[in-house]
C-alpha cells in the first residue's frame, strides 16, 4: 500500500509541535513516546502500520478544539481515531500526523425517551449507547458486529451498518445531530433533536466522510422502542441460486424481516467445525429474523414458510425457544472467528443488486479458483451487502498480494453488476485506488470540493478515500 512520503519539515519540528500541544492540554493527554504511540500504528487493517508523530487524547470538546488549533497553526495532518476497528485503514496514521483519539469522551449527556433521542459524547461505544437506554425499553438500532468495541465517532465517520439495518437503516438514518470541530478549531452544532435540516443537509455529508471534514465530539442519536420479541428461522438450500431466489420472493411478498443473512458451504463447514451450531451441511443457508409479539411473529413466519417451501429447501428450522434462537445465530456470529481459525483472511465489503446475487456468487467462485485461493461468503442478503472472505497464508511469500489482487477484481465485479465498492466498512486506504472504477474524475472532484470547504488545507486524514494521484494537488 503506497502512502505519501511524510513531510520532513514536520518530522523536524516534532519537539516544537509536541510542546505546543502540551501547552494547551493536560499532561496525560499528549503521548509522544515511540513505545506508547505504537498502540496507534494501525487499525483492524493490521497489515499496514506506521507510527504517528504523536497522539492526543482530549477529554472535552474544548480540548479537541485547542489541539486542532495547534495542529492547524503548525500545518500538521490530523487523523481522528475512535476504537481503531476500521477494516479499511481509515484510522491508520502517517509518520507526520497527530492521532486525535476521542475514546476518553464517553459520557451520556442526555436521555430523552419522550422525544426518542439520546445525546452522547462521541467516544462512547456503540453497545454502551443501547445500554444507556435499555432500562427505559429503548435501543440504538445500527448494530455493527464490532459494537462492543467500536465508538459512535467511528460509526458516524464510516456510516456503519449492521445485521438489522434492512429494517432500521444505517447510521445516517439514525443520526440527528453532531457537535463538529473543524480543522481550524471552530466548534459547530449541526442538526439536533428535531427532524429537518434548516439549510443544506450538512449532517448527511458529514456522516460517512471518514474523518476528513471535522472531528465529531458529540452526537444526538435517534432511539427506538424495543420490539416485544424476535425469532429467527434457518432455511437450507442445495444451491446458492435457489437461496437467492427465495430472498427475492420474500421481499417481493411484502414481508420486511429485520435481517436476512446468507452463508455458503465453505462458511457453513468452517463455522460448524468451530462452534457446532448444528447447521445442515448444504450449499447455502439463510437466517431470516422477524420481530413482534408471538402472534405477529407466527403470522410473518407463516408467510415466509409458504414462500420457502416453493423453493424445496433441504431444511426449514424455526426456533422454538430462546436457546434454539441463540444456536441459529451462533454460527453466523462466529463466522469470522471460524474463518480466522482456518487461515488469515481479507474481508471484502462490496454491495450488489440483490437480483445479481446468483451470477455474482458464481463469478466469484470462478475467479477464486483461477487465483488458486479459497473464498467463503457470509453476508447481509436482504440488502446485497456481500462479505466475501478470501483466505490466504500471511507466512507464504506473495499470498497477501495475490489475495489483494483477487479482492480488487471482486470489488470491480461488484461495481460492474451495478453495485459499489463498500457497503459499510468505508474506503480508507484499502479501496482508495479503486475509487476510479466506480467514479469519474468529475464525481470525485465534486466530493473533494466538499472537503475543500470544511478543510481548505487538507490536513484532516488527507491521504484517505481518494486515489493518491487524484488528491495529490490538494494535499500539496
Amino acid at each position: 500500500m503506497q502512502m505519501p512520503v511524510p513531510d520532513p519539515a514536520i518530522l523536524a519540528k516534532k519537539a516544537a509541535i509536541v510542546a505546543a500541544l502540551r501547552a494547551v492540554l493536560p499532561a496525560d493527554a499528549v503521548i509522544d513516546d515511540p513505545f506508547e504511540t505504537r498502540a496507534y500504528e494501525c487499525d483492524a487493517l493490521a497489515a499496514y502500520r506506521t507510527r504517528p508523530l504523536a497522539v492526543v487524547l482530549p477529554r472535552s470538546t474544548s480540548e479537541v478544539a485547542a489541539a486542532l488549533k495547534v495542529c492547524h497553526r503548525h500545518g500538521v495532518p490530523v487523523v481522528p481515531r475512535g476504537a481503531g476497528t476500521s477494516l479499511a485503514g481509515g484510522a491508520m496514521p502517517s509518520a507526520d500526523a497527530v492521532i486525535l483519539g476521542v475514546a476518553r469522551m464517553s459520557a451520556v449527556l442526555e436521555v430523552d425517551t419522550a422525544n426518542r433521542f439520546v445525546r452522547v459524547e462521541a467516544g462512547r461505544t456503540n453497545l454502551a449507547v443501547s445500554a444507556a437506554v435499555e432500562g427505559e425499553g429503548f435501543f440504538y438500532a445500527p448494530d455493527p458486529s464490532s459494537q462492543l468495541a467500536c465508538l459512535i465517532a467511528g460509526n458516524i465517520a464510516m456510516n456503519s451498518g449492521g445485521a438489522h439495518c434492512l429494517k432500521y437503516g444505517v447510521t445516517t438514518n439514525n443520526l440527528m445531530g453532531v457537535t463538529l470541530v473543524t480543522m481550524a478549531g471552530e466548534v459547530l452544532e449541526i442538526g439536533g433533536p428535531y427532524a429537518d435540516a434548516g439549510g443544506l443537509d450538512l449532517l448527511g455529508v458529514i456522516c460517512g466522510s471518514e474523518g476528513q471534514l471535522g472531528v465529531v465530539t458529540e452526537a444526538t442519536l435517534r432511539i427506538l422502542p424495543k420490539p416485544e420479541g424476535a425469532r429467527p428461522v434457518l432455511i437450507g438450500f442445495d444451491s446458492s441460486e435457489v437461496a437467492g431466489a427465495c430472498v427475492a420472493d420474500i421481499i417481493r411478498a411484502g414481508v420486511l424481516p429485520v435481517a436476512i443473512e446468507f452463508m455458503d458451504r465453505p462458511c457453513i463447514r468452517a463455522t460448524e467445525a468451530f462452534a457446532q451450531p448444528g447447521y445442515p451441511d448444504c450449499e447455502a443457508l439463510l437466517i431470516v429474523e422477524v420481530e413482534g409479539a408471538e402472534a405477529e411473529i407466527d403470522e410473518q413466519l407463516g408467510l415466509i414458510r409458504q414462500i420457502a417451501m416453493r423453493h424445496a429447501p433441504v431444511e426449514f428450522r424455526e426456533a422454538q425457544s430462546d436457546e434454539e434462537a441463540k444456536r441459529i445465530w451462533l454460527g453466523r456470529k462466529s463466522a469470522f472467528g471460524a474463518m480466522g481459525q482456518i487461515n488469515d483472511y481479507v474481508c471484502l465489503d462490496g454491495t450488489i443488486p440483490v437480483s445479481a446475487l446468483p451470477q455474482t456468487l458464481r463469478r466469484i467462485g470462478e475467479m477464486a479458483a483461477a487465483a488458486g485461493l479459497e473464498v467463503a461468503n457470509v453476508f447481509h442478503a436482504g440488502d446485497g451487502n456481500m462479505h466475501p472472505l478470501i483466505l490466504y497464508d500471511a507466512n507464504r511469500e506473495g499470498d497477501l498480494e495475490r489475495c489483494e489482487a483477487l479482492g480488487a477484481d471482486i470489488l470491480r465485479l461488484c461495481v460492474e453488476v451495478g453495485g459499489c465498492l463498500s457497503g459499510e466498512h468505508g474506503v480508507g486506504i484499502e479501496k482508495r485506488e479503486l475509487m476510479s472504477a466506480q467514479f469519474t474524475r468529475a464525481d470525485m472532484e465534486a466530493q473533494m470540493r466538499v472537503k475543500d470547504v470544511f478543510d481548505p488545507g487538507w490536513l484532516l486524514n488527507p491521504a484517505k478515500v481518494f486515489p493518491l494521484e487524484v488528491s495529490a494537488a490538494r494535499r500539496g
Partner: protein
Amino acid sequence: MRPQDERELAAAIRDAAGPLRVQGGGTRGLVGAGEVLDTTGLCGVRLYEPAALTLVVGAGTPLAEVEALLAGEGQRLGFEPVRWGPLLGASGESTIGGVVAANVSGPRRVRAGAARDALIGVRFVDGRGEVIKSGGRVMKNVTGYDLVKLMAGSRGRLGVLSEVAFKLMPAAASEATLLLEGIGVGDAVAAMAAALGSPYEVSGAGWMPGLGAMLRLEGLAESVGYRVGRLGELMQRFATPRIERAGSAALWRDLGEVAPLHHCAGDVWRFSVKPSEAPGIVARLGVPVVLDWGGGLIWAVLPEGTNARAMAAPYSGHATLMRGCGVASEPEAPGVAELGEALRAKFDPRGIFGEGLGA
C-alpha cells in the same frame, strides 16, 4: 429550455448566460428572475426491480406516475410524499425531482424516515455544467462522500437533478387509525410520545383541530388487529380511542395536506421542533394549528406580517415561512451558514441557480 436528456441539460447549464429558474412541476411557482429550465423532459423509469425494492427514475417524472407504477406492484415510497399545493395556493403536478429537492416527507416519516433516507442515488448537473453521480442503486453504499443526502433538500441550489434512485417499501396489507377525539394539544403530544415510544410500530402520529389526536398502525392484518388492541389499552389514560379503518387513509391524506388550514387567510408557517416543545409553542402562537410527527412538525396560519419566530420562541429547530411575503428559512448559526454558502459557491460558482425555492 426543456432538455430531453442529461447531455442537453449539461449543455443548457454550461451555456447559460445568466440565472436560471429550475422548474419541475412548478407547483411552487417561480421565484426570482432568469430563464426557466424545465426538467419535465428528463422523465421516465430507468429501472424498477420490485424484488430488490429498487426504483431509478428521471427526475422530471411526475410524482403521480411514480406512485401509480409502485401501487401496481404493491409497493410505495416509504416517506409518503405529500401535496401542499392546496394549502399554499399552487396548482400543477409535482415531479419526483421536486419532491427530492425539497425533501418533502409525510406523516410516515416518524417510522420510515424522510425522502433523504429513501434516496440511495442521484445524478445531477452542477453549476459548472458537469454531470455528477453519487450513491447508486444499492441500499447499502458508503463509497465516497454521501452527496445524495446533500442534494436532498438542497432546493435546486447546488445542481439540477437528472436521475434519482430510491429504496422502496412494501405497501401495507392493512391499516387502522386510533382516534383520541377531542383531546387538546398538550394531552395529544403526551399521548403521541407514549404511542411512538411503545413497541407497536406506530406509523403516523398527528393532531387536527376539531378532531383530536390520530395514531396509525400498518402491516399484516392480524398484526394490525393485535396492535390496535394493545395500543388502545395504552391510550386509555388519555381517551377511549375510536377505531377507524375504512376512513383511515383519507384521514392521513388530510393531515399530510394540512387540510384543516386550507381556507385560513394569512401567512403559512411550518415549525420543525423537538416534539415536547409543541404545546408551549402552540400556546404562544394562539392560532389554530395542525401537528404531525408526534408534535415535531407544526403548521400554523398567522396574520400577514407576523413575526412568528419571536412569538413562538423559545424552541429548538427552525421555522419556515411557506406562504406569505416570499419564503423565508430560519437564519442558520453563523459558522454553519458560512459552510452552506461556501458549498453553494463551489457547486455553482457563477451563481446561476440563484434563488431556488426563494428560501
